[in-house]
């Protein structure tokens, strides 16, 4: 199966993080290619980073202010951005999703989830990391989409155990159904708040894949 090689640009101001991410991508099978990296988003706007299919960026680039504006410009250009940050607070996470980030990973869960999230981003398929699922599971913000109790259960169990097999065992579902639940929740979030082309692409792809029906939105 000759899947196309996924190209990534990594924006982070810590060289050790850059090196670690490169190592994870190199060890992935098939490997993910880091075509450019740098301490600020300039790397994503200039070649070769400009044509990379996925952007992985830290939210705290040098300053104390989260780089929401950079994220917004990238999302408005239809770039698939994975935010990879130290911050875990609900406000930051939900703001990034609302702006149009593809996914949000905390630094603690990079090794296990960054490669999977990157592949999903390259294919424009939803991906919810456990930390993001935890945040959505307790989300009480007024903009949140309506979730069924079962959907919330799946979110929180995924957050707790980081294993879809365990969630499936615990809730008496199949692992595939657990994935479907998570994907559908991600699509529901993509369909709320600020309109962004990245969100629209995610929803369109989900409808095309039969993950969710138009009248469900």
């Amino acid at each position: 199966m000759a899947r196309p090689v996924i190209s990534v640009v990594v924006v982070d101001d810590h060289p050790a993080i850059l090196a670690g991410i490169r190592a994870w991508y190199a060890a992935a099978d098939p490997p993910v290619q880091v075509v450019a990296s740098g301490p600020n988003v300039g790397a994503a706007w200039t070649e070769p980073g400009r044509s990379a299919s996925v952007v992985v960026m830290d939210l705290c680039l040098g300053g104390s202010v989260p780089a929401y504006a950079d994220l917004r410009r990238l999302a408005d250009q239809g770039r698939q951005v994975i935010v990879y940050s130290m911050r875990e607070d609900a406000e930051t996470v939900l703001t990034c999703l609302d702006i149009g980030a593809f996914s949000y990973l905390t630094k603690g869960e990079g090794q296990a989830h960054l490669v999977t999230a990157t592949r999903a981003a390259a294919e424009c398929r939803p991906y919810l990391s456990p930390s993001l699922a935890g945040t959505l599971g307790v989300d009480r913000s007024p903009r949140r989409p309506a979730l069924a109790p079962r959907e919330t259960d799946v979110l929180l169990e995924w957050f707790r155990c980081e294993s879809k097999e365990l969630v499936a065992l615990k809730l008496g579902l199949s692992a595939r159904t657990v994935s479907t639940y998570l994907d559908r929740i991600r699509i529901k979030y993509a369909n709320t708040g600020r309109p962004a082309s990245t969100k629209a692409a995610l929803v369109a792809r989900a409808i095309q894949d039969g993950l969710i029906a138009v009248d469900e939105l």
């Binding site: 609900a90 603690g108 935890g134 307790v138 009480r140 957050f159 707790r160 980081e162 365990l166 065992l169």
Partner: protein, 377 residues
């Protein structure tokens, strides 16, 4: 009444009563001495209407003063027109008394002004003294002007003024003394309250310590005694496990009294620190707004986490999910330790007989999954 009394509740109450009493004295004098005198000696006054008018003005001053005094409001600039009105009324009343009757029964007016000044200026002794002095000078001038300035009359006036003035002065001094005593009482009450607070804090601390000591006496002390007497051996894996648990519980107890925003998270971190010192990589994630949990619930949750973490050798994941009505702690320990083959291991580490949590163990081939849930009432 004034800024001083309002700063002291005790003084405020005393002075309010004293003000009311002075107003009462003034009104009684007006109704039962001045009014009957004017009625009985109506023929003496020249003319009568001036005397009656002066009496009316004084009555009006008392009526206007009454609500302010009874509601214990401060006077402010409102006292000036009243002081002047009372003074003018008294001058007019004296002027209406014929020279022959001055400093006699019909001449009541000059003796009462001090009371009005006291009603209107009890909070300012200097003002009261000034008003009374001006009043006496004017009266002496009136009396002398009417040709009654003989030493005998003036000495009689001085004696009356001294008697009435001392009486009024004693009330002023009483007000001052009350203020001072009340301030002392307030200070003492504050000190006593502070002392009581300190005592109850100390008592609470002592109770907490005793309680913590009791919590340790059941488990930590026997373990230490066993190690000291070599009854148990540190080589025994069971003893090592018990040591891990007790070390974590000690850390949790130390963390319990810290003043932090999220006590549960703080206490869990203390327990996790013990595991991390052994080289176990523990991942803690908390979601949702943490409610104010009772200490017993925090202890029960932390005890569950301690028991689960003690079995971890390589890594563990601890999560806390706080929702509106529940807090769920979950600890996942990968590895073969939890190979209970379907049967849930007995939940170790509980010391609280009134278990406030719903606890479930979930064993898989990959490890153990503990979940402890607290549901708010």
């Amino acid at each position: 009444m004034n800024a001083r009394s309002s700063s002291s509740p005790v003084a405020g109450r005393f002075l309010r009563s004293l003000r009311a009493a002075v107003l009462l004295v003034t009104s009684v004098l007006l109704l039962f001495w001045q009014l009957p005198t004017v009625v009985a000696l109506a023929a003496v006054y020249r003319p009568l209407w001036v005397e009656a008018g002066a009496l009316g003005v004084l009555a009006l001053v008392a009526v206007v003063a009454a609500p302010v005094v009874l509601r214990d409001r401060p006077w402010g600039p409102a006292r000036w027109p009243l002081l002047v009105a009372a003074q003018l009324a008294v001058l007019a009343a004296t002027a209406a008394v014929p020279a022959s009757a001055l400093i006699g029964p019909p001449h009541w007016a000059w003796e009462v002004y001090g009371w009005y000044a006291l009603v209107l200026a009890m909070d300012r002794p200097g003002l009261w003294a000034g008003c009374v002095a001006v009043h006496l000078l004017l009266t002496v001038a009136q009396v002398a002007g009417a040709g009654r300035g003989q030493p005998r009359t003036l000495v009689g006036m001085a004696v009356v003024a001294l008697v009435v003035g001392s009486w009024q002065l004693s009330i002023l001094l009483t007000a001052r003394a009350l203020e001072w005593v009340a301030a002392c009482a307030d200070r003492r009450a504050e000190q006593e309250a502070a002392l009581r607070t300190a005592e109850s804090v100390a008592e609470q601390l002592h109770r907490d310590r005793t309680e913590r000591y009791a919590a340790l006496a059941d488990s930590t002390l026997p373990l230490l005694a066993g190690l000291a007497t070599r009854r148990i051996s540190p080589d025994d894996p069971q003893v090592q496990l018990a040591c891990r648990i007790e070390a974590s519980r000690l850390r949790r107890l130390f963390a319990e009294n810290d003043d932090v925003a999220h006590p549960l998270e703080h206490e869990l971190r203390a327990c996790i620190d013990v595991a991390e010192r052994r080289g176990v990589a523990v991942d803690l994630a908390v979601r949702g707004r943490q409610p104010d949990l009772p200490r017993s619930v925090r202890r029960a949750l932390a005890d569950r986490a301690i028991a689960a973490l003690a079995t971890a050798e390589v890594s563990a994941r601890v999560t806390v999910v706080c929702r509106d009505d529940s807090v769920v702690l979950s600890v996942i320990v990968p590895g073969p330790e939890g190979a209970g083959e379907g049967s849930a291991p007995p939940p170790p580490g509980t010391t609280d007989p009134e278990e406030p949590l719903d606890v479930s163990w979930f064993d898989t081939a990959g490890g153990t999954w503990l979940e402890a849930a607290w549901h708010g009432r």
